[in-house]
């Protein structure tokens, strides 16, 4: 490495633009920060040697250089955003509605959305956030953040740590804010110092040269903020792994007790009751709004649930028992939490049929006198029913949600919302069955049938749709968000301001620099020099711009 020794005695790393200690521009390196032919020095990273701008030969250098570019980082983010936006056009695979035509992505997208849906599926956007290329994109953003930050933070930290109050005259006189005053007394300088100190500047001195500095820590804001972002990105990646994140959906009927998916058969849920409450339309407070809306407005969706844990007692082959873990109400905005799992009220189905009772009667009997009866458990129908008086019924077809598709009877789903059946009735004295079709509001018996079916009773239940979640990435997201916020505030509310007082050949040069809010810096200086003969600082950037525009016009 070719280290550069400045005339002040400080040894700088290769590629340094302004000496870390005294700020003297290092010959031959001025093009790096674009200082050639400019009056004002580029102070963005205090003229430090950034690796990405210094070494550009080897493969590693090139990779480092690529990722340290803000432009590359911004483009990666833009691409990731565009991709994420694409992912929201249609529901992602886990969010395909449970009542969809098919939950198979190959069928669902094309059937539901047509050609665009098919393309969506073929390009793999249906599982975007878990796809390898999306993960790589997120990882690349992370790499870019780390390299961008390191490339700038490390040299900047060094330079601000090593800076000396006594600067080289070129450094001070090429700042944006500069003034030169002759015949300044020591008393006046003392006054300026005191005023700056009062404005909470830290004062350091060397041979009569003064550096007043405040808010340096705000320079670390962006890097703190990036640490927060990286933590959030890591959390987002971990969330795609089954160990840290689980997302399942389960339908539970009232009275049913089933295993909770995603828990390896360890936990069971029992749905005691589903409750749907509506707002009362005569409620004086909300009457106007409810009438305007013209539909029923729900007030509460609630599942009264009991959670059980399987207890194996460690004995292989032994009958396992269920221990009650918790009993609670699951409402929207009020999920149920147990042992790292969370259950959310996510959907419901009202009045599904649970059982249906039928009777057999003579077709020509106008009183429809019951000859035999049977009850079908619709959640678990049997193939055959042996009835009293020697009657027998076989179930031919069962359509849970019946509809006619071009004259063909079909079922829309497996949920029992509109059941219809084809039954074969075996009378005691015949061996040939009679065919009967029956459903809600339909009852068709073949013309030559002797017997007919009738519905005598049915019972219904509600079904709760619950989302099961396990998410260990939350604390990580929280930590990342907290650090992110600290960084944003640290970098935005405060500014890094520096004022140099530089005696030179009987004159005093006052120079100042800030990373932003020059207006505030000028106010500080005005206040500090108000009781002295020291001239106000001139904004050379404004001057330069004015000269440029004048020059351009003439």
């Amino acid at each position: 490495m070719n280290r550069i020794k400045c005339e002040c005695g400080h040894v700088n790393p290769e590629g340094t633009v302004l000496c870390e200690a005294c700020g003297k521009p290092i010959e031959g390196n001025q093009h790096i920060d674009g200082n050639d032919g400019k009056n004002i020095l580029n102070m963005r990273y205090d003229g430090t040697a950034r690796r990405s701008l210094t070494y550009r030969k080897s493969f590693v250098d090139k990779v480092w250089g690529f990722f340290s570019s803000v432009k590359v980082g911004v483009w990666l983010i833009v691409i990731a955003l565009a991709a994420s936006a694409l992912g929201t056009i249609y529901p992602q695979r886990p969010h395909i509605p449970a009542n969809a035509i098919s939950r198979d992505p190959a069928i669902f997208y094309e059937q539901t959305y047509g050609v665009t849906g098919k393309i969506y599926y073929q390009l793999g956007f249906y599982d975007l956030y878990g796809s390898w290329w999306y993960m790589i994109l997120i990882a690349l953003i992370g790499v870019s953040l780390v390299i961008c930050s390191l490339d700038r933070f490390v040299p900047l930290y060094r330079a601000l740590k090593k800076q000396k109050p006594k600067r080289h005259v070129t450094f001070v006189s090429r700042q944006r804010f500069v003034s030169e005053t002759e015949n300044v007394t020591g008393e006046e300088i003392q006054k300026v110092k005191e005023s700056l100190h009062k404005q909470r500047y830290k004062i350091s001195e060397e041979d009569g040269h003064i550096l007043a500095e405040k808010g340096r820590f705000s320079r670390w804001g962006p890097y703190v903020n990036h640490i927060g972002l990286i933590i959030i990105l890591i959390a987002a990646l971990l969330r795609q792994t089954p160990w840290f994140f689980l997302d399942e959906y389960v339908w539970v009927r009232e009275g049913e007790q089933i295993v909770i998916p995603g828990t390896d058969g360890e936990y069971y849920i029992e749905n005691k009751k589903f409750i749907l409450e509506l707002y009362d339309e005569s409620d004086e407070k909300f009457r106007d709004a409810l009438q305007k809306q013209g539909e029923l407005v729900p007030k509460n969706f609630q599942t009264n649930a009991v959670i059980y844990k399987k207890n194996d007692d460690g004995v292989i082959g032994a009958e396992s028992s269920l221990d009650k873990v918790i009993e609670d109400q699951i409402r929207m905005n009020h999920p149920l939490k147990f042992d790292g799992y969370t259950l959310y009220q996510a959907g419901y189905q009202l009045d599904e049929f649970s059982t249906m009772s039928f009777k057999i009667h003579k077709k020509d009997d106008s009183d429809a006198k019951e000859l035999a009866s049977f009850t079908v458990d619709l959640t678990n129908p049997e193939k055959e029913y042996d009835l009293e008086n020697g009657y027998r019924v076989k179930m031919g077809e069962f359509y849970p949600e019946y509809y006619l598709d071009n004259g063909e009877p079909r079922s829309k789903s497996k949920y029992v919302r509109n059941p219809a059946f084809v039954f074969y009735i075996y009378a005691p004295d015949t061996s040939q069955p009679e065919v009967s079709f029956i459903g809600i509001g339909r009852n068709i018996a073949a013309d030559d049938n002797e017997y007919k079916l009738g519905i005598i009773n049915y019972t219904t239940h509600d079904v709760s749709g619950l989302t099961v979640r396990k998410d260990y990435t939350l604390p990580l997201f929280g930590l990342g968000a907290l650090i992110f916020m600290i960084g944003v505030i640290q970098g935005m509310y405060w500014q890094h301001r520096r004022v140099w007082i530089h005696p030179q050949n009987g004159k005093v040069i006052v120079a100042a620099h800030t990373n932003k809010n020059w207006y505030g810096l000028r106010k500080d200086i005005e206040k500090a020099i108000s009781q002295t003969t020291i001239h106000e600082v001139i904004d050379r950037q404004e001057l330069d711009q004015r000269n440029e525009t004048k020059g351009g016009k003439s």
């Binding site: 707002y279 905005n333 990373n515 932003k516």
Partner: protein
């Protein structure tokens, strides 16, 4: 008078007070020739603003007590809260910088927003289960406050542009500035058209078919644009000139497009009237009022507003929203988006990124670097 009527009266009072305060702010920048000296009209103006804000706070509290939930649950309530946040942010920044001209622009913009809010249904609606959470209050009020503060940045930026752009010749810059001002006028046009036809109790019903469902939609403005494939049901009303383009989907797309066309027409008429009366570009007409304002001070206010507003917006719009989503829903934000509309959340996400890049120093030439 019940609490709801009291609440409405308070909001109305606030609106009128803001209007009068604006006039006094206008007077204060004309009268006050000497710098750094408070004028009487300036004092009156800020006092009226404070009373107006107190009245609007009264609206908020009264409505909260009446309905039993914080009034941030529908578009009317949210946009009104947004208008209130603009006024609050203005008051804070006014005391930081004592710049009267900020009030001359910020208050009318807050008024336009409040007027725009009352074009939405104003009835007190009950909360659906998905919104029943304290996080609704926390999320929405923080977001409203955040964008209220950011709006002051917009106001300061607008004043910067009006003052800074050379109006002696017509350039691309003057044209774009006029377009921004025209868009503000369109909002005024929208409010005027809506109120006018609301007062006339205008109705025209259309029937159209979408996704195999027959839908009847009720226009409250004369139909210039019909829904795609819609037939007019009401008699003795204007016949529409055109039909909404086929790619416009969604609920009441034709009706919304019709409202947009009306607003643009009304805005254009207002704008042209102003041009005829002023006999110059609106930007050029306002510019002389700003002769005493310093550009770098405006720049500073604009930056400061972003510096305060962005973290607040991030906190409310991202972090609080995520926490709430974690408690309430399985898919982040799906439920509330149905209530507030995807567009609102889409745009605020977009704005978050714009401000994030902004804060990250993309505009380093204006504000320096982090």
């Amino acid at each position: 008078m019940n609490l709801l009527q009291l609440s409405s009266a308070m909001l109305y009072t606030a609106f009128i007070l803001y209007l009068i305060a604006t006039a006094f702010f206008g007077a204060s920048i004309k009268v006050n020739k000497k710098e750094n000296k408070k004028s009487l009209s300036g004092t009156i103006a800020i006092t009226l603003t404070l009373i107006g804000f107190a009245a609007q706070l009264g609206y908020f509290i009264a409505r909260w007590i009446y309905s039993g939930h914080a009034p941030v649950s529908n578009m009317f309530e949210f946009v009104t809260a947004f208008g209130m946040a603009i006024v609050l942010a203005f008051i804070i920044l006014y005391y930081m910088y004592e710049l009267s001209v900020l009030g001359l622009f910020a208050l009318p913009i807050a008024m336009i927003i409040i007027a725009y809010a009352s074009m939405f249904p104003t009835e007190v609606a009950p909360l659906v289960p998905s919104l029943k959470s304290h996080w609704l209050y926390i999320h929405v009020t923080t977001v409203a406050l955040g964008i209220g503060i950011l709006s002051i940045s917009f106001v300061a930026g607008l004043i910067y542009l009006i003052k800074g752009i050379d109006q002696s010749v017509a350039t691309k810059r003057t044209t774009w500035l006029e377009i921004i001002l025209f868009l503000l006028v369109v909002f005024v046009g929208f409010c005027i058209v809506t109120v006018t036809f609301e007062t006339l109790d205008y109705h025209a019903e259309f029937e159209y078919v979408e996704n195999e469902n027959t839908i009847v939609t009720d226009y409250h403005m004369p139909p210039l644009v019909s829904p795609k494939g819609g037939t007019l049901l009401t008699e003795n009303v204007m016949k529409p000139f055109i039909s909404a383009p086929g790619w416009m989907h969604g609920k009441d797309a034709g009706k919304k497009f019709n409202t947009l066309v009306w607003s643009l027409i009304a805005g254009a008429i207002l704008y042209l009237l102003a041009r005829v009366v002023l006999r110059k570009r609106i930007g050029a007409a306002i510019q002389p009022l700003l002769s005493k304002v310093k550009l770098d001070l405006l720049d500073e206010i604009s930056y400061r507003a972003v510096a305060i507003g962005f973290p607040v917006f991030t906190l409310g719009g991202l972090i609080f929203a995520a926490i709430w989503a974690q408690i309430a829903w399985t898919a982040f934000g799906v439920g509330i988006q149905k209530k507030y509309g995807h567009l609102l959340h889409g745009f605020s996400t977009l704005h978050f990124y714009i401000y994030a890049f902004h804060a990250a120093g993309m505009v380093k030439n204006l504000h320096g670097y982090p």
